[in-house]
Amino acid sequence: MNSFRLRRVAGLLLVGSLAVTACSSAADTASGGKVVLSVNGQPPQTQAFERKIFDEDVAEFEAANPDIDIQPHEGFMDPKTFSAKLAGGQLEDVFYAYFTDPAQLIARRQAADITDHVKDLPHYTEIRQELRDVFAKDGKVFGVPTANYSMGLLYNRKLFQQAGLNPDTPPKTWDEVKEAAKKITALGDNKVGFAEYSKNNQGGWHFTAWMYSVGGKIARQDGDKWVADFDNDKGRQVLQHLKDMRWRDGTMGEKQLLVIEDVQQMMGAGQLGMYLAAPDNVPTIVNQFKGDYADYGLTGIPDGKGTLIGGEGYMINPKATPEKIKAGLKWIGWKYLNPDRFDKNLKRYKDQGQPIGLPVPPVADIWTGDVKAKQTELKVANATVPVQNFKSYVDSTPAGLIEPPNAQQVYAILDNVVQAVLTDRDADPATLLADAEAKVNPVLAQVK
């Protein structure tokens, strides 16, 4: 605790402030007449396999497109440094964005309008419409989705067996989750039946998933305005359910204010029975904790009336020239949206002992029609993990709903609601929701 902290923040603000005077980034064309294109999304050196695949792709793309010089940069979207990079002229020409961010980036004019260029992107119209909509506004396109997830229930098959539950018939409703959690907790030795996040906006994020699962919403459009829509029976039902599991059943452990890493660690250590998660959590847990794919199962979100979908895509620097936009879309299309390379990609992953068959990249579930059929067929033919463990997730068909507008600010407020029921035995769901709605409405009123 010293003045260094204030100075550090001031320093960060300075980097941001440089925007005022910053000029555009490097020249558009190199001396050889090539379009120089900086892109991010290059995996770090520590992820040797993913890095190798990425670098090979860059080399192959450049060989096929001698007029484009790709300059890869490590890293993905970091909201903490995004503005500073944009301000300092350091933002890549092609940059990664989570589904939570495009709406605000578009509103702040921080992404290029690519409507006229996207027509030339092969297979663009075969991407699921609701995913394309995340990157569009008023008929204009500002980015392209490249991967998505939908929330399901991740569970520990070993603990299910130990608790006398059948891991091949995982819970389908929240009531069944509650019962399963009791049996797992009854194993003792600090086993936790079910865990939930409640910090760093992740509580609000998962509350949204809970609301969707029971057919509820977080926000709805009222004319041309957005208003909060969770202070109702469904909201109270969700909170009461969480409260019951935490305090009446005692199946959510003692420690709260958890974030995703805490919960993954609990799952990896074999201490946790179930939690809400996207499929990409499975390889993360297996890799970090030297686990086995056979020990984990994934099923559709309980109750299944809807599920939160999220994901990622790429957008283009608002300062990019038309040439760069064209080259950027060529790269995105070739690297991330290329059905002709499905087979090759799967084989590369398989040859290196990477898991094939999980509902995660290299075969992201963003497609419709023939492309989707082709992808599914290839995935099944090349599977290396017990696909049946994830079958009930793949077979579940809840409606995919995107995140509410101004998601991060809304989540920050909803964090409190989840924290309250998980940390205060006397918390009153009705009061909490009414209070949160009063705070969320002004945030939604800012949505244009």
Binding site: M1, V9, A10, G11, K80, K255, Q419
Partner: protein
């Protein structure tokens, strides 16, 4: 006069590099921060002047008052613990006859631990389930509190971590002050029949009064900028009970990307800290005089 400037020219030369660094990395950000507080920026188009709009937005945010109240609570608690404990520890260390160096090292060790590491270690200690503290309490047949998970104990739990982490520095400063007290004063007091407590009250406290006051002001300035502990350990929860001013500032800047409002808040914090710094300067100047 000219001779005096010429004599100092070499010194100014050496100083210039440091001054340049200060100007670029310290003073310019502060000035820009002040300007940003009255602007709205999207880092694409030119910034727009919005007058007091950012401040109005802050005052309308229900978390604004909460953050100041929490920061004040943290500061008061941190002073109660962070001020009294190191002083008493220094008095005890000063009385030691053996293993002096060893105990000084032990007291100073936590300072060497990176703050984030310390916070993570304490997060585990506080775990109400298998955490060390509650496991020990259960061993004694007691029910431990929720520590970080309970609104009534969350802030106190953070204060304990901060106090523990900064104990060493304050203790060493007090110890240095104690050792500068002439031994004759104690001898005279002893001859007059003063016991330990009376010696402490009539000799130690008056002799270290100035150091105590300076450290008090420095601690106010430092504790009002608390960030690492709430950021790493609670994220501001449960139920906003540990949202501090700096944490709110961070949220505005990096969660909402609203650098204008973040700068406005930093400006307000700067004003408050400026008042304490002015007081500190007055106190030290009076002592120098």
């Amino acid at each position: 006069m000219r001779r005096r400037v010429a004599e100092n020219l070499t010194a100014y030369g050496f100083l210039s590099a440091a001054l340049l660094c200060f100007a670029v990395f310290s003073w310019y950000p502060i000035v820009r921060g002040v300007v940003l507080g009255f602007q709205q920026v999207d880092f694409v188009a030119a910034p727009t002047w919005v007058g007091w709009e950012n401040f109005e937005r802050l005052f309308a945010d229900p978390l604004f008052a909460v953050a100041w109240r929490n920061t004040l609570l943290f500061t008061v608690l941190a002073l109660v613990f962070g001020f009294a404990v190191p002083f008493l520890l220094a008095v005890v260390l000063n009385e030691l006859r053996h293993f002096k160096a060893y105990f000084r090292l032990v007291v100073y060790l936590p300072v060497m631990l990176p703050p984030v590491v310390a916070a993570l270690v304490w997060k585990w200690l506080y775990d109400p389930g298998p955490g060390l503290l509650n496991t020990a309490l259960r061993g004694l047949g007691l029910d431990g509190p929720g520590w970080l998970d309970d609104t009534s104990t969350s802030m106190l739990s953070l204060v304990l971590v901060a106090t523990w982490a900064n104990l060493g520095t304050a203790t060493l400063v007090y110890l240095a002050a104690l050792q500068s007290i002439p031994g004759e004063l104690y001898e005279a007091a002893e001859l007059d029949g003063a016991g330990v407590l009376r010696r402490l009250w009539h000799v130690t406290v008056p002799q270290t009064r100035f150091v105590l006051l300076v450290l008090l002001l420095l601690q106010v300035v430092a504790t009002m900028q608390v960030f690492t502990e709430p950021y790493v350990m609670t994220g501001g929860g449960p139920q906003d009970s540990t949202v501090t001013v700096l944490l709110l500032l961070y949220r505005y800047a990096f969660y909402y990307n609203d650098f204008g409002t973040a700068s406005a808040l930093s400006l307000l914090l700067l004003l408050v800290l400026g008042a304490f710094t002015a007081l500190y300067l007055r106190v030290t100047r009076r002592a120098d005089a």
